[in-house]
Amino acid sequence: MNWNLSFFEHLIAAVVIGLAAPALSAIVFPFAVRRLSGFMSDRLGPNRVGPAGFLQPMADFIKLLLKEDITPSRSDRLLFMLAPAIAFVTPVIAISVIPFSPGYTIASLNVGLVFVVAAGSFAVLGILLAGWASHNKYSLLGGLRSVAQMISYEIPLIFNIIIVAMLVGSLSLNDVVGAQGKVWYIAVQPLAFLFFIIAGMAELNRTPFDLPEAESELVGGYMTEYGGMRFGFFYGLVEWGNATIWSLTGATLFLGGWRGPFGGSPGWLILKMLVLVFVVIWFFATFPRLQIDQLMGFAWKVLIPLSLVNLGVTGGLIILLPDNFLPPVAAFSWVSVIVLVLLFPPVQRKLLLRKRLGKAAA
């Protein structure tokens, strides 16, 4: 279907989608987290407010709105109030380049991939400002951690996005979906998809990379001093809005976007997004947290070199076999994923023991 909208209709649609998507995600996903992680940890989760507890996030939202708005007395007032708003920019603007259906993208940029990455970088600014302006040591540590972490993991994230761009030969997200008519890129580049998920978790500050807000170490990390709806902004709108954007991007890059049986539609995109959000929640319920040196070490010693190798090999294959490069790329990628998954645990354990306890223990 091809929607021909007037400029005004287009503007309204853009504003509605841009604001409604993060708001909806802030209502639906916290509920999903609680019920799903409740299911995974063998308990019920909230089930009192509304049918099956579905209105619990609404109740929380109202509670947060009614709370007293407290600004710490020694904080940097302007930045303290500005930080949640700045962090909220990412989910609002990044959604504009995601193709929702064959005929509809809010802004069909020919450099959509670059735009998504650039918008994603905004998130770190809000978190850093929040950490700095709060005038709290835990917040400061959280803010500094988030800068180190998000800048480090942006590199592998971009490498893996570039791999998709090379396979497509274009930076436009519309072209990315268009090129996945025969086969989704998760089947061609599972390695890139794996790294995209790992780096994405770090970009989103989700478990196992939730160090900036590590509640058992830093109390609340960068949002320690935030209360009321400002906290709601960070906890609901920003976090889950970013998760929505990341999932939409991942679904577009690797899972064929709006493609699916019975013709393309936004429904398929949303379904794929929910699958990726489920992965986020699943990780949350399963994994402990890394610590900062291990997190940085993993980015710089494992993720970036391997992504670079993947990038180089994929690029080489595309140059060598310009007409039919998908099968060899897929073969390389699948073999590396299997080797990586099989080799990583024993090698890591051996290295850890040798490094920390000497040769005898290994």
């Binding site: 940097d76 040591k137 540590l141 590590a214 830093l218 319920a285 402990p288 947290r289 354990r349 223990a361």
Partner: protein
Amino acid sequence: MAESRDILMPPAIGRSPDPYADEHRDFHLEEMVLNMGPQHPSTHGVLRLVLHLDGELIVSVDPQLGYLHRGFEKLAENRTYLQFFSMLARLDYLAGFFMEWAYVRAIEDLMQIEPPPRAEYLRVICGELNRIISHHMAIGDYLLNLGAVTPVLWAFRDREDVLDLLEMLTGQRMMYNFARVGGVRYDLPDGFAEQCRRFLKGFPAKIDEYEQLISGNEIFLARSLGMGVITPGQAADFGLSGPNLRATGVAMDLRRHAPYSVYPKLDFDIPVGKNGDSFDRYKCRIEELRQSVRIIEQALDAMPGGPVNMKVPPMLRPPAGEAFCAVETGRGEWSNYLVSDGSLRPHRLKLRDSCFVAISTLPKILPGFKIADVVGITGSLDLIMGAVDR
């Protein structure tokens, strides 16, 4: 903002003499002092650690205690022997029966009486159930400190079964007041043995479940292998006991090496670690859960009939003298030193706790690690402040 500069921000140039002025002309570096606790999600009550940090790196640790000090030892001197019973479980409030057990044994030593055998078996059953809930909380809280949310909830789920059993047995979930001089308060209630056996039958599978979720997890290994290593020599110097000591490879367990009650008649292993790191401490506790299951099964089988307590005077007057008694709790060695002057009240009661010792190792083992390891390593040591501060 002006008055706040000294805490977070680099001091203004020229305001104070900077010893590193030449090296760091533009970038002044200083240690950050972080007060972790007493109000902090991961300090297990009210432990306060003053951390000196170089970025995320720990330079020195200074534990500050006393936020939960209630004067137990003095209170004991102002109460009759029986009155003090109800307070004992408030020391280590997660496994309170061990404290009652040690106290009762000290009084029995003074009075030179032996409780009937059935009472000893009941004490062993109650004690081992307490060890299970103690280790549940140790493992769950440790993983929660590392950022994993599910293990602690699984631990709570299975702990609830044990608490139900303890409630059947003693009438209370946590503050048991179950031990009595010369026995225990109640005999087994109807249906306890069956429900307990049902629990013991299903529990090993649940321990396997914990292990599946935790033990092989790469992130958990990265956070625990080789972290907070305590050598056997250090452990001996500090006087560590319990799983923290056994993780260093020393197979020292009071139930075996200073046997009391009916433990000599029961068959169980003492799990030991190899490296003395956080992972070994965790693993020791997991294995001890399995051993506790074995012990309770044997105790249920071997329990003789007969009375569960004996006649003692309502107003206890142990003869003048002194007694020392120690029991192996889930956290280590809990010992009592009781001095009686022949009156209604103890002349002096000294309590000694293993978590206090474990805290004293922190300044030694923590420097050089990161902030995240403060909660990781203290979690693996399984501290409980109610027993430390007394």
